[in-house]
Symmetry: C2
Subunit: 341 residues, 2 copies
Amino acid sequence: MAPKPEITIHDIAKKLNISASTVSRALKDNPLISEATRKKIKKAAIEMGYRPNVMAANLRTRRTNTIGVIVPLINRHFFSSVISGIEDVAYKQGFAVTISQSNDKLEKESTIAHSLFSNRVDGLILSIGMETQSYDHLKLFSERNIPLVFFDRIVEEIPAHKIVVDDFGGAYRATQHLIEQGRKKVAHIGGPLNLQIYAKREAGYRKAISDAGLQINENQILHNSLTRQDGLNAIKSILKTKERPDAIFCANDTTALSAIIHLKERGIKVPEDIAIVGFSNEPFSELVTPSISTIKQPGFEMGQKAAELLIKQIGSKTKPKAYETIMMETELIVRNSSQRK
Amino acid sequence: MAPKPEITIHDIAKKLNISASTVSRALKDNPLISEATRKKIKKAAIEMGYRPNVMAANLRTRRTNTIGVIVPLINRHFFSSVISGIEDVAYKQGFAVTISQSNDKLEKESTIAHSLFSNRVDGLILSIGMETQSYDHLKLFSERNIPLVFFDRIVEEIPAHKIVVDDFGGAYRATQHLIEQGRKKVAHIGGPLNLQIYAKREAGYRKAISDAGLQINENQILHNSLTRQDGLNAIKSILKTKERPDAIFCANDTTALSAIIHLKERGIKVPEDIAIVGFSNEPFSELVTPSISTIKQPGFEMGQKAAELLIKQIGSKTKPKAYETIMMETELIVRNSSQRK
DNA sequence: TTGTAAGCGTTATCAT
DNA sequence: ATGATAACGCTTACAA
């Protein structure tokens, strides 16, 4: 069966003996067009199976009504919550959303950014990858005044709206909670310090320790990429240090999970011997035994906020006078991995 | 600061006193262009900060080098594995991938399909939502000969390549395993039967039961949308039936999880009193206590295969003579929720 | 090896 | 209220 031919506004125009511009206007509900012709045109469009060629329209209008989103990994509860929040407001405002994952690779992040730029997305929302330390691929957007909004893993130096959570406060609260449970020697499994979120989490941790008048054992502060394997290496390494800690604050739930599993295997009791707190409230944290105490981040709301700011910026043709950094509150969720018995 | 102006091939041409077509050809590495001018042009392009306008090129070539992907939910390990598989082969072949989630809503699925069509994606890979029972939004693609590949949740009637797993075999194996553990009364929490995967899983379950000469209690076969809440309702309802089952085969891990949690709360022992097997091998299944026995599906490979078939089809201008249905093998993973003690 | 010119399907400007 | 025409930025016969 031969494919249906592409129907264009010209085909509709010819059929109805009117001009293409009238068709275009009618389909866009331009009020200049009379009710009667508008109806006639829309009817014909449906009958003929007309489908607008968005590329042509975009080329002409220099707008795509598309928002690009780059996240490190779509299969993380936090990130997919943010994406859902973005979609929630974007769709309501008539924007399409195209999602890409960088897999925490700078090269892929850069490729995607170029691709999104070349496709002329109207704006970009992103959370940078662990490797990202140079920002040429993002300059593209700022140079051409294409709105950019960062969330979570932001780049401080780039002028743009930023949606973050209170990483410092959350980490402080998490560490303080461990101390309140009577722990004196709290270790830390942290992320790469080029990402501000991890630097802030570590800072919050350090502050909580020093506010409580306790000591930090620098050998028990580790930095890695926070994968399952990294977590395993980290906990092993911590167990080899001289004074075994009685608690660990992990910069994410994945490493908290690794730690818990390894400690169980070694017969070290969680939380009795070593208490654990994670960060992010991944769904698995409440399912493991013991369930993982963690810091909850409002992902969906962050996505909504990011999309709102971005779309507002897309709408106004002038640059915002000032860039906002919106800090969302976190919440400590106490579960079994940290409770005093 | 004023935004940098858009640089076009004409700007480059003017600067170098050559024609735009030469620039276009050089940038595309057309062998007709001499080495010298090619180099000169590429150098200028970089210096001037040229970024191709993909929309214009697409409009002209009627190709976007973009693959659309629609999945019910990106935040499911199975689906995000498939997506990673798709990206793996697509990027290598120079295709961009744009991912969307339908949230199992027909309306959203339809909106997305129309949007992808209007943006003239070169091909579509999709797994339909739970509500999807009419396929007008997919006819669009077949009518215009835009290649379509289904995976997992396929539509039997639509002519297209299909990548599925052996749902029947997996379910058969899962149920057989329960029977081998000495279970005589196996219940089933199933999905909506308009989705073939769930119909097949139920069929596999039924076959295993009858092959073993056991009876099915039709009151203990339930159908729902397999959410956490649905699973909870289902297990409650099963517990109310006259002859309590000694095993349950759940059509996904989510409902298996609900069942396990509820049974624990009620003091009913898993697997001693009721053994459970799920389906999909979501990451949480090995983390819960007891860990969930389940059927593993090769998501990444399915994605790779889907992308390969799609891209091959995009490449050839003729319709494939026959549409393949590729069935991938599943694997039973035995964990604690089903082991005889 | 390079240039000229037409055209992809739409929208915007200017007429009528 | 509608039409004619040019233009968006690129690719591609065809010509030179």
